[in-house]
């Protein structure tokens, strides 16, 4: 087996030492720091972007909160206005209703008065008619001329029994 031939052991070890040392030093000093910087730069960029995204999110949340507040406020204001309008309308309606009631009452009482007055008038007319009729009837039957006063007296005394 050529591996166990010690002829080139020293040569192998020498060149291994040379090349591996060179590789180690080169990677340690040149290549790995380069990759590390790139990775670090990327991580920084990512962190930066993440933090700015977080900031923006916070701002968005704040704006959303403001919007919600405004919406709530507007809702409350609208509710208040609706209530006020309803109240005002109700008051208006009730005042109009009461004035209508008053008007109606007045009209009713006026009508009642009218009716009473016309009734009285009618009663007076009836009395007169009665007196006239009585005068005429008595004159035709008995040829006695009765004065108006006498007839009225008789009517007054018997008024209760007519009604």
């Amino acid at each position: 087996m050529p591996q166990l031939n010690p002829e080139f052991f020293v040569s192998q070890l020498f060149w291994l030492a040379v090349f591996f040392t060179f590789l180690f030093v080169f990677l340690w000093r040149v290549s790995l720091p380069r990759i590390a910087t790139v990775l670090e730069k990327r991580q920084n960029k990512i962190d930066e972007n993440l933090s700015s995204a977080k900031e923006l999110q916070e701002q968005a949340m704040e704006i959303e909160k403001k919007i919600n507040d405004r919406i709530n406020k507007a809702k409350l204001e609208t509710d208040e206005k609706i209530k006020e309008t309803i109240n005002a309308l109700q008051e208006d309606v009730s005042s109009q209703l009461s004035s209508l009631d008053k008007d109606l009452e007045k009209k009713v009482s006026d009508a009642e008065k009218e009716i009473l007055k016309s009734k009285d008038d009618q009663m007076k007319n009836i009395n007169n008619e009665i007196a006239n009729i009585t005068k005429l009837t008595v004159g035709k039957i008995t040829e006695i001329e009765l004065s108006d006063n006498e007839i009225n007296k008789v009517i007054e005394t018997h008024k209760g029994s007519f009604n």
């Binding site: 591996q3 080139f8 192998q12 090349f19 591996f20 590789l23 180690f24 380069r34 790139v38 960029k45």
Partner: protein, 244 residues
């Protein structure tokens, strides 16, 4: 030395240029060349793909970042915050073994991770480093690592030697695991490649199809062994911080 058509011939080391230093033969070989390719691939890929340093990565940059995050995650999962300072080492180890294995999957290309001396050297670095780390963190108390609490006292004469042996065999198991996997996989590929040539008529397509499937499996193993090497290194580092 293996025979000329042996499946083990692929593991033979051929010097590209003969160099000698202080009486030692340090020839630049095909193995060294594979290491050079591996190191070049890793450094160029990790440097060029991240050159733009763009925040939105290109596909290639994404691959580099994925590897980075993969090992970083592995370390933080196994060792925790203490592991960060060993990241360059574990990452280099992982990439070196991974790309070394992958380069070895290129046909006719040498696989340096199939050499026990290479894997053992890597495992020895991990083992010695972790042991030193353990003594730095815990001083003489590091020896309590071999003492398992909550075990009846009469078991300790048996358990402590077992613990010591298992600790000392760590570099061997770590290196042999990688070495044996690579050796077996590449040998198997070569054996079936020999069948493709030697089988009569069209029947050679069957071992060829098997080679295709096996290549997929080998690529999986190449990744898996690099991952195992890295995760065991992480676990050993963790042991150096947290004794039992």
């Amino acid at each position: 030395m293996a025979a000329k058509d042996s499946p083990l011939k692929q593991f033979e080391i051929d010097p590209i240029s003969n160099i000698e230093l202080g009486g030692y033969n340090i020839s630049f070989t095909n193995s060294s060349f594979a290491m050079l390719i591996t190191v070049l691939v890793i450094t160029l890929f990790l440097t060029l793909t991240v050159n733009t340093r763009s925040i939105i990565p290109s596909r290639m940059q994404l691959i580099s970042e994925l590897m980075y995050n993969f090992i970083a995650q592995l370390l933080s999962d196994t060792v925790g915050d203490n592991g960060k300072r060993y990241f360059p080492f574990v990452f280099s180890l992982f990439m070196f073994v991974l790309i070394g294995n992958m380069v070895g999957m290129i046909p006719y290309q040498f696989t340096f991770t199939s050499h026990i001396i290479v894997t053992f050297a890597l495992a020895a670095v991990v083992f010695i480093g972790v042991t030193i780390l353990g003594f730095i963190n815990h001083g003489i108390k590091f020896f309590t690592f071999f003492y398992i609490p909550g075990v009846p006292f009469y078991m300790h004469p048996l358990l402590i030697p077992i613990e010591v042996i298992s600790y000392l065999s760590r570099p061997i198991s770590l290196s042999v695991r990688l070495f044996a996997n690579m050796l077996a996989g590449h040998t198997l590929l070569k054996v079936f490649a020999g069948f493709v040539v030697s089988m009569p008529f069209f029947t050679g397509v069957f071992p060829l199809a098997f080679i295709v499937a096996l290549t997929g499996l080998e690529i999986l193993i190449a990744f898996l062994q690099a991952y195992v090497f890295a995760i065991l290194t992480c676990l050993y580092i963790n042991d150096a911080y947290h004794l039992h």
